[in-house]
Symmetry: C2
Subunit: 190 residues, 2 copies
């Protein structure tokens, strides 16, 4: 029954990604040793690396999984909604894990040119989704008209990056609702 087997493989792969995300977030890329990844997943290294070639491939898969989810959410609800969701989930361990992997991506973009090159495509997909959504909003007449889409998109991306860093530093999330209202208002038609 190859279909069931593929489903099982996919489910196992998803379980490994979820556990590895938390492990990378807690210990960082270097600190997430193979032993710790075994503990986090409850699997042997042989089982883990049956699904992912090596630790680097596993980390990239976690980050790509996050990026794909973000592209979907941006396309559907926009980047401000991504920020509001992030804020709402800011206290959950899942979000902590996600933020950790975002910061780890940031660190590796800065220190690892090969990684930066591989990552450029994912980053472009998120940027494209943001601009497409803003273009649709401009057609719908809800955006301010005096600035190019690209400036509005970069402004939202700046706020998004700020939120990631704010939350990743463990600063309180509670007071940021009115700040996101201000971010949203700044790109809207008066």
């Amino acid at each position: 029954m190859p279909r069931v087997s593929q489903d099982q493989l996919d489910a196992r792969r998803h379980e490994i990604l979820t556990a590895a995300r938390a492990c990378f977030a807690r210990h960082g890329y270097e600190g997430a040793t193979v032993r710790r990844l075994e503990e986090a997943t409850g699997l042997s290294r042989g089982a883990i690396f049956h699904h992912f070639r090596d630790k680097d491939s596993l980390f990239l898969a976690v980050a790509e999984d996050d990026a794909a989810t973000m592209v979907e959410t941006v396309a559907r609800n926009g980047l401000v909604q991504v920020m509001r969701d992030l804020l709402a989930r800011a206290v959950s361990p899942d979000t902590t894990g996600w933020l950790g992997s975002q910061l780890e991506v940031s660190r590796r973009l800065r220190t690892d040119p090969a990684f930066a090159k591989r990552w450029a495509e994912r980053s472009a997909a998120i940027a494209d989704a943001t601009r497409e959504r803003l273009s649709r909003q401009r057609e719908a007449g809800v955006l301010r008209e005096d600035l190019p889409i690209d400036v509005l998109a970069r402004f939202l991306e700046l706020a998004y990056d700020g939120l990631v860093l704010h939350l990743a530093m463990g600063r309180p999330a509670g007071d940021l609702g009115p700040v996101l209202d201000l971010v949203e208002e700044a790109v809207r038609r008066r």
Copy 2:
């Protein structure tokens, strides 16, 4: 001549901070080994640790030096000007070093509760300077009146954090001038 001697000590201390800042930025806290700090400063470990108790004290001194500079600049010219300066200097190696230490602070805030506790005071000084400056601007009638100072301050801090992460990830800085104009406009009286 104790006064000359103190000047010399201060100058040496400043030299060590500058070299150590670049070293922490390039290699991260863990990667900036004592051997690398010796190479970066051109001094022996004995000479370095005559001025700073240990590597952790040296890192904290770098970060505190940055924070003190930032408090002065915020008080004088405001947080948007800090961002504009950062953008203008974004290509220089000095800025790269500074950004690296900012991200390293972020990482340690997340992973090191003792550090987070020591850092809270510095962080509060920057936050206070931002709010005091905004209060003076409100008295001068240049700020929008419909939102509390605290929301405006948090909005600017979000943009600042976003800029730090953006530049630290090595993304292009050139297109962000109009974005900072939009940030500034969003807090000003219409």
